[in-house]
Subunit: 458 residues, 2 copies
């Protein structure tokens, strides 16, 4: 065991305590009431980076939530690597489904339960601790290092394109390693080649000036909820196909090689269903589940509401109905163009008797795809082979990490994923947790990766 | 002016204070948390009946909210008349649209603003005060009188059929006068000939065990909100036609005479639209607005909810979606049969990949229709002609008052409507109000009606 690895072992209890501290900050980027908490999380990260030994640590404000950067650039001739992660988290509702309060982290059976435990606080803290171990125990890093941690990933990183454009010099690097990701299982590693993009709109339908008596007015005027459901039915067919005009026109056709690579990833439908407890899988005809989840676009209603939601009955004809919709996009769909198609569609199919408005949501991510044989994928693969004793699967992911495409566009660098979340950890769901074993494993893996990248010359 | 009329004038200030007291009780029958308030309102009514001079006043429990009855049976040879009304009220949400708190009655410009002001506390208090005036100022009523005030009208009177069946003797009468109703305008009276019936169901759709990440699972599993909107789209067409198999089979065809009577009621579409501020009217093709609202059945979504409803975005694939649906029914639809048709339809069209359940709501009312030339309509018409100086319109109403059909079935008596609400008073909506002029007018009108009914022999 080298000095850095020993340092990690010796300080693991403190690191877990620090993770719990970090998790106590309710840094929900989606809710304006929590903006102060997101800023507090930024401050926590900055302080932690300083104590790890990084230099030029700064919390940089944006028009939204801040970004934290820092560096250590004393490895001449070595590559410059940027570590990426995010300290904001998803909202917590439905709160009643949590076994313990989401911001009172609870350790049970070697797992820490809290909102953000896996996505992404546990995962982003691991490389910081690896850096500390190398700097404190060995006095230097094997590479030039930058860090960039953001506070708006969960809302689609609206200010990140402008931030990256304005801070090119402070972000310049040869490659990015994202700590916002996971592995296939505790024994099976992955190389992540692609991420879906995304965008979204909110639809608001208004009828009368107030809620009305459904007996007096039912049949005479439009019901905004019916108008909304009829409109939504024009956007996605009952079999899952997206019906928005022009939506799939830009989708790059799947090659036989693409389909073969996806088919090579193991899939057990029974296990998959059991893990999330659904009666059957469902989606667009003609594609396998992984194809639907990784390389086909989606249109999903994230929320719908209108009228009476209480116990019992209220025979009201409501005057408002609302839906939030987000789409996942694949190469070569452009989120700006897709938002326009959604707006055009809603306006073209606007129901009679009500006023329909459609507003873009602040979520814009271009789909991301990197070459399987990129040099950083070769290095990451080598480390994963050493750690897991087997070849990683080449996969894509259905989620969106907008910054990957932003960094490629503005800095010309690819982002490789190197995180240790697992699919059962409930990212975005109640009872989110992170395995403390993964937390410790991630720290050692980052030490190994940085050592390997340091063996290259820039 | 006779003694009773003078008594009403002399005590009007006290009556208004009493109305405000009554309105302060938040007797929302739909919400279990307010069951105690409904009981409190029953007690208030019972005490008020005793002080008016009625006898045998009782609060009778049911399996749900209680009923208050009382009588005065000292007019041998005269008809026995039962006065009906209800002391429960609708829920108040959306609360933020109220100009003053719904249970802190506020008098502005000769109107009292409060939940239940028009529907039905103001209207049901008027005949009680008329009875008091006659008994206190003249020592007797011109008819034998019973009263029956219920606390569950706004939730469809689930226990009223059993209550009426069990209390036939205490409810026996020649005719019922309902104080739950209104007139066409301050200068135009009506005779109400029909009420729509009603029934309802709740649909609950469940997907995965928890909410999931829409990037990771979007496209792979069914989204319960999409499943719900697709299911709802099979129940009502975008043009307003009901598509539930068999739903309209029992509807009695409209005769030319029916259509002519309805067409004789004045209708100004511009005024109607402006009053409720809708861009256009809407409904089933081939019928006029009044036909759609009075003699055609409806299927209305009263509430829908699922997923994220907060500000901003949450890219969740929710695991639940819900809708509450109520229908208005017309002769000769049977609510029990219609509920079964709704259940059959939902089961037949249950979407794949989720679990769908459908549960009847506690709202069952058979449609009600009385002969235009019934003797009580002739007497009510005569009183209205005297009070308004013009012939009443013969109308039907779109709402449901289940007890009318229950009393006809169990006691063999018809119910005539004699109330003084007006359409702009926001029954079931925010800022409900009642005109204090209508409150006083209603008291005098009831004195006049009771005198006229007393001129008949039983």
């Amino acid at each position: 065991m080298n000095a850095a690895e020993r340092y990690l072992t010796d300080h693991q209890d403190r690191f877990v305590d620090e993770l719990l501290d970090f998790l106590r900050i309710p840094s929900i980027s989606a809710l304006p009431a929590h903006a102060g908490d997101v800023a507090r999380a930024a401050g926590w990260v900055a302080a932690r980076l300083v104590s790890a030994g990084l230099e030029h640590v700064q919390v940089i404000p944006t028009a939204g939530h801040p970004v934290v950067i820092g560096d250590w650039l004393h490895a001449p001739g070595k590559p410059t690597v940027m570590i990426y992660g995010h300290f904001d988290v998803q909202p917590v509702d439905p709160l009643h489904l949590w076994s313990s309060p989401p911001f009172e982290p609870a350790v049970r059976d070697g797992r820490v339960y809290a909102r953000g435990a896996s996505d992404d606080k546990g995962n982003m803290l691991a490389p910081i601790l690896a850096i500390e171990a190398l700097l404190q125990a060995e006095g230097a890093l094997p590479v030039n290092l930058r860090v960039c941690f953001e506070g708006q990933e969960e809302i689609g990183s609206p200010q990140i394109p402008a931030f990256v454009a304005e801070h090119r010099a402070q972000l310049a690097c040869d490659v990015v390693i994202s700590a916002d990701g996971g592995q296939w299982s505790e024994s099976e590693p992955i190389i992540l080649l692609g991420l879906r993009g995304g965008c979204g709109v909110q639809i608001d339908i208004r009828g009368a000036a107030t809620d009305l008596h459904s007996g007096m007015y039912g049949g005479v005027i439009q019901n905004p909820i019916h108008a909304l459901t009829a409109l939504l039915a024009t956007m996605r067919a009952p079999d899952g196909r997206i019906l928005v005009e022009g939506f799939t026109d830009a989708v790059r056709p799947l090659s036989e090689a693409d389909r073969a690579a996806i088919a090579a990833v193991p899939f057990d439908e029974g296990e998959y269903r059991a893990a999330i407890d659904v009666p059957a899988l469902f989606g667009e005809p003609g594609f396998t589940p992984y194809e639907r989840g990784w390389v086909r676009p989606t249109l999903e209603i994230n929320g719908i509401w209108g009228g009476f939601q209480g116990d019992g009955i209220k025979t009201v004809l409501p005057n408002e109905a609302h839906a939030k919709i987000t789409c996942r996009l694949v190469p070569d769909q452009d989120p700006t163009q897709i938002v326009q198609l959604l707006i055009d569609h809603v306006q073209r199919h606007a129901p009679p008797g009500v006023t329909t408005t459609v507003t873009p949501l602040r979520f814009t991510a271009r789909p991301y795809l990197m070459p399987a044989d990129h040099w950083v994928n070769q290095e990451v693969s080598a480390v994963l082979r050493e750690l897991y004793g087997r070849e990683p699967y080449h996969i894509r992911a259905g989620g969106s990490i907008p910054i990957c495409m932003v960094l490629l566009e503005h800095l010309g660098v690819y982002t490789a994923s190197f995180g240790f979340g697992l699919e059962d950890e409930g990212a975005h769901a109640p009872d989110e947790f992170f395995r403390l074993s993964s937390f410790a494993f991630g720290q050692r893996a980052y030490v190994a990766l940085l050592r390997r990248l340091g063996a290259r010359t820039a």
